[in-house]
Amino acid sequence: MTPTNPKVVLEAADICVTFGGLKAVDGVSFSLHQGEIVGLIGPNGAGKTTLFNALVGLQKLSGGAVRLDGETVSGLKPHRIATRGMTKTFQNAALFPDMSVLENVTTAALLRHDLKGARAKATEVLARLDLSPIADADVADLTFPQKAMVEMARALATEPRVVLLDEVMAALTPSEMDEVMDVIRALKGEGLTFLVVEHHMRAIMALCDRLIAVNFGRLIAAGTPAEVASHPTVIEAYLGHGAAGQEGSHA
């Protein structure tokens, strides 16, 4: 948490998501403070993406509440939550395939602008993320890392205060990752708050102010990156999957 600004923007209170009898998210509570970058870690199937979907309204809660700036947003449709200032990127780049990059981003900018203003906003966001050269490209022609960046541009075009990033750095080279992290830090400097799912432990450790660890839908640890990474329960969660060598380097 940033000591200068302790204001809570996002609060998850005892969130539960149940699929049939399976508790995919089981009583998770945490808060994000404005201008914070918080990492959400946990082994595959721990419930990270389900938790993201629950936060932005794509997944109905079976219990608990999500509050943005103290107001309950759980139960609202995703576009209402986007209007209130929270959106997310999709893990596997869910772009609009028949649209150009600029059109994809413009669609999101329409949330707060008319068409002309939305195009200007989208152009601005693309420039910010160094994507201007591919503005007119069809998303079908993009590489995977480019798609992930366009995902992020689309999220930013809604002018959010809280952004949930679901593995935007998945296929990036280390130097590309550094560039993306610089952008995220710059946005944090402007007051944006991030919750980040990422499998690269190096990126998570370098980027995040705090970490939250989940397993089997439950919160198992929270604290500074160093604390959480060395937390016995967290280590056990990863080793318990029998992939210590592979997972150890990747989180």
Partner: protein, 335 residues
């Protein structure tokens, strides 16, 4: 500028001019002009359908419901209350728009086949009601629009060419509405809904409202086509006006064969299919019962197999598109 004329639009403009001049060169009472008028009317219907079916990719098989509501509303208002069918056309559009809005509530969570079946059922329900509620609808014998000679205020004309021009004007209106919807903010949202509904929601698109608006506009325009059809043909009954194969499927078919979601698709589709059907009927219906439908069906299947994206796919893409390979985009932008 963004809305500069593109080659496709010039072609379309030339087509409208040529179509407007056609009655001057053919027999104004002849069969050819009637077929041409019908082809243009079906183009307008398919274009109305295209707003929901093409832009939002909600394949409706029940648009005959709105078509029939338009025909019944204007004709009943005229027969019972003497209200001009011009006003009846607007009333029909309103009735159909309200029906579409009501239908949206239960059906918009449905996708694909389920949506198609729900809309199909809606049209069938209206057909059954029109057949059985004879006090209101006139029942299975149908309704006849009285022949009044030429009375423009009552939407009545002696010459086929008058109807032809009205139908052409309606087609132009529907095409303009489609174009404005497709290229405005609404078009972005509709395409987003079509391509990834969850992502559209998270990006701030009110997907329900977008589909609702598109569906109401589509239904209202379809109803206007229904009124024009009733005035033009002077007679309709529940089974023909709410027909699944004759209206609902044909509207979808024309748009799909022409090119789903494109401005030119419904026009090309109608100009291809309606005359084809006419020819198949003229030459084959006397040989064996059902032969013309069989041949027509086989041609449709072949058309879809040869080019699933419709006839429009044979033309160069009308959208201005920078070839992404031709610029050094990829180095410039990470990756």
């Amino acid at each position: 500028m963004r809305f500069a004329l593109k080659p496709g639009h010039v072609v379309l403009l030339l087509f409208f001019i040529a179509a407007a001049l056609l009655p001057l060169f053919v027999d104004p009472r002849g069969h050819l002009l009637r077929v041409a008028a019908m082809a243009l009317l079906f183009a307008a219907m398919a274009q109305s359908w295209n707003i929901v079916g093409g832009l939002a990719n909600q394949i409706s098989l029940g648009h005959a419901a709105f078509f029939g509501l338009g025909a019944y509303t204007s004709t009943l208002l005229f027969l019972r209350l003497g209200i001009s069918p011009w006003i009846g056309m607007l009333a029909g559009a309103m009735v159909a728009g309200i029906a579409a809005a009501l239908l949206s509530v239960p059906t918009f969570r449905l996708k694909g086949h389920y949506f198609a079946l729900a809309t199909l059922a809606f049209a069938e329900v209206l057909r059954v009601i029109a057949n059985s509620w004879a006090d209101l609808s006139g029942g299975p014998v149908g309704l006849t629009v009285p022949f009044l000679g030429t009375q423009p205020l009552s939407f009545a004309f002696r010459a086929v060419s008058s109807y032809y021009w009205i139908i052409l004007a309606l087609l132009v209106i529907v095409c303009v509405v489609f174009y404005v919807l497709a290229h405005g903010a609404m078009g972005y949202r509709l395409r987003a809904v079509r391509e990834n509904e969850a992502a559209a929601e998270v990006a701030g698109v009110n997907t329900f409202r977008v589909k609702l608006v598109a569906s109401v506009i589509s239904a209202a325009l379809t109803a206007m086509c229904g009124t024009v059809f009733a005035q033009f043909t002077f007679f309709f009954d529940p089974d023909s006006i709410f027909s699944l194969s004759g209206i609902s499927v044909r509207m979808a078919m024309i748009a799909i064969v022409g090119g789903l979601g494109t401005l030119g698709g419904p026009i090309i589709g109608a100009l291809f299919l309606i005359p084809l059907e006419e020819v198949a009927n003229a030459y084959l219906s006397s040989r064996a019962a059902g032969l013309s439908q069989l041949v027509f069906g086989l041609i449709l299947i072949a058309a879809i197999l040869i080019q699933p994206r419709g006839i429009m796919a044979f033309f160069p893409k009308s959208r201005v598109k920078t070839p992404p390979k031709a610029q050094p985009a990829t180095e410039g932008a990470r990756g």
